[in-house]
């Protein structure tokens, strides 16, 4: 079973929103709609010992994805070939049942940092697809000489991250871009975190060194 996801290095993330822009551009996301967000986790402490970081938040590719289970039309589903949680917009009827089912979304899919977002114009719910249209067969190790190489493609949010904070790939494949980023972080003694919620077992991973900040999830 593949476990494709994003791995985000918070030691590197500067909160620049490049990934948000790249995502919107690649997926034609309308004004006011978001499939990912960069959430600042507010500073604590006193100057100069300030403790803060940014969490880029998008669909966490949960292993127990409740959004799939509650969808009455089958529009929320897993790609049978690579297990990625997706939404078939042709089948989505905009019933919003999936919104309160996802622990990382608000009940209307309209408030940042909701990972599922309600597209009012098309009357459908949308979310990060891991850019499956580009990356479905990729190992997540980018071929920088040929970015159209499908077997080494990465999502635009990864390619365009100005700080090189994002990696992509299958966590069950030790050679994937995501697994290699995690292995390197662990070898350097940096902490690997998840935003746990309600037993959904998110696949997305966040790397954060104790020296940079103390992990507080999404903050208060």
């Amino acid at each position: 079973m593949t476990k494709r996801t994003l791995v985000i290095d918070l030691d590197r993330c500067s909160g620049c929103d490049s990934c948000v822009v790249a995502c919107k551009f690649e997926n034609g996301i309308g004004l006011g709609n978001y499939w990912n967000h960069v959430k600042p986790v507010n500073p604590v402490g006193t100057h100069p010992d300030i403790d803060m970081y940014w969490v880029p938040l998008q669909c966490q590719q949960c292993e127990n994805s409740p959004c799939v289970g509650v969808c009455p039309t089958g529009a929320s589903y897993r790609d049978p070939d690579n297990n990625v949680v997706l939404i078939n917009k042709e089948e989505c009827i905009g019933c919003k049942t999936c919104l309160p089912a996802c622990p990382y979304s608000d009940s209307e899919g309209a408030v940042r940092p909701s990972v599922r977002w309600f597209n009012v114009e098309e009357n459908v719910v949308e979310k990060c697809t891991l850019c499956n249209h580009l990356t479905a067969t990729s190992d997540g190790i980018e071929n920088t000489a040929d970015t159209t190489d499908a077997t080494h493609a990465v999502p635009p949010c990864v390619h365009n991250c100005s700080c090189g904070a994002r990696s992509f790939g299958d966590l069950d494949d030790p050679n994937s871009g995501a697994s290699q980023a995690l292995a390197q972080a662990e070898s350097e003694g940096r902490k690997v975190c998840t935003i746990e919620a309600e037993g959904v077992m998110p696949a997305a991973r966040y790397i954060l060194s104790e020296g940079i900040a103390t992990w507080r999830g999404l903050g208060d």
């Binding site: 009827i93 905009g94 919003k96 309160p100 089912a101 979304s105 309209a110 408030v111 009357n123």
Partner: protein, 293 residues
């Protein structure tokens, strides 16, 4: 940040569908318990026909709200095609369809036969329980909203909708009976006037009012409503208490069911059921707290 919003069309669909279904259940209950000796005469079947028309109107109105929520009637077909998905929304919709069909059948049977009969009456009661529970289960199944994982929700939804239904039943059917009795001098004795009231119905309403209040208190004790706490604690449990008081007044009333009191009970229980359902959307959860203002 803006506040998490209440999905009003969903709230109203669930309330009207469960209330319409509940009225049919009271027609069914009335056939089982009898109506104070009135028996199945023309007067009673007319009253039941009126109640069934109101029930069907509520169920249809609820369905229209459901369609409005989806934005397009053809979207409903996508749910019916996938009704075996096991989604709580599919269960809710499947039971809604059964209630709709059942309401139409009840109308036709009452027009032809003047009574529902045991099987149809039992079916009406079961469907009303299923409709209330499925609307509650819809919320309980939402993993992403942990405050909703409470058995108080299906209990409160079912009892609350039945409470509204019972008062509406008494207002509509009771009123029909009283009017008929006034016309019929032979039946206008005090005895018959009392007979137009099924005290058993009112006792059922008193129990439902207690169950609704208990569910609201239980849910309120385990959930945090933030700045909406006052709204919740005034509306949801308090209105269940008012409904209970109305039921007691009706039981004490010498002349039996008063249409006025039935309307008062229906109004308060409706406000309570609505407040309970709407306030669920205002609860604080763990991660969804991020989305609160």
């Amino acid at each position: 940040m803006i506040k998490t919003t209440i999905q009003w069309l969903s709230v109203l669909f669930e309330l009207f569908a469960a209330t319409g279904s509940g009225i049919l259940a009271f027609v069914g209950i009335s056939e089982f318990v009898g109506s104070g000796g009135l028996g199945f005469d023309g007067l009673r079947s007319k009253a039941h026909l009126g109640a069934t028309v109101v029930a069907l109107a509520l169920v249809v109105f609820g369905g229209l709200l459901y369609v409005a929520r989806l934005g397009n009637p053809t979207q409903v077909m996508a749910i019916t095609r996938n009704v075996s998905s096991g989604s709580p929304a599919s269960w809710e919709f499947l039971i809604y369809l059964l209630v709709l069909v059942c309401a139409v059948i009840c109308l036709l049977v009452l027009r032809r036969e003047g009574r529902l009969g045991g099987v149809l009456s039992a079916l009406c009661i079961l469907l009303a329980l299923a409709m209330g529970c499925s609307t509650g289960y819809y919320h309980m199944a939402m993993i992403g909203t942990p405050a909703w994982h409470s058995p108080a929700i299906p209990l409160g939804f079912t009892a609350g909708a039945l409470l509204v239904s019972g008062f509406i039943y008494l207002a509509v059917a009771g009123c029909g009976l009283e009017k008929g009795l006034e016309k019929d001098a032979k039946k206008s004795s005090e005895e018959d006037s009392k007979a137009s009231t099924s005290k058993i119905m009112v006792w059922i309403l008193a129990v439902l009012a207690i169950a609704t209040t208990a569910a609201a208190l239980f849910f309120g004790a385990s959930a945090s409503f933030g700045q909406d706490a006052l709204l919740y604690w005034i509306a949801a449990p308090a209105v269940g208490g008012v409904s209970f008081a109305v039921a007691i007044v009706m039981l004490k009333c010498a002349r039996g069911v008063s249409r006025r009191w039935a309307f008062i009970g229906a109004s308060f229980s409706l406000i309570g059921a609505l407040a309970f359902r709407a306030s669920l959307w205002l609860v604080d959860s763990t991660i969804p707290t991020l989305f609160r203002g």
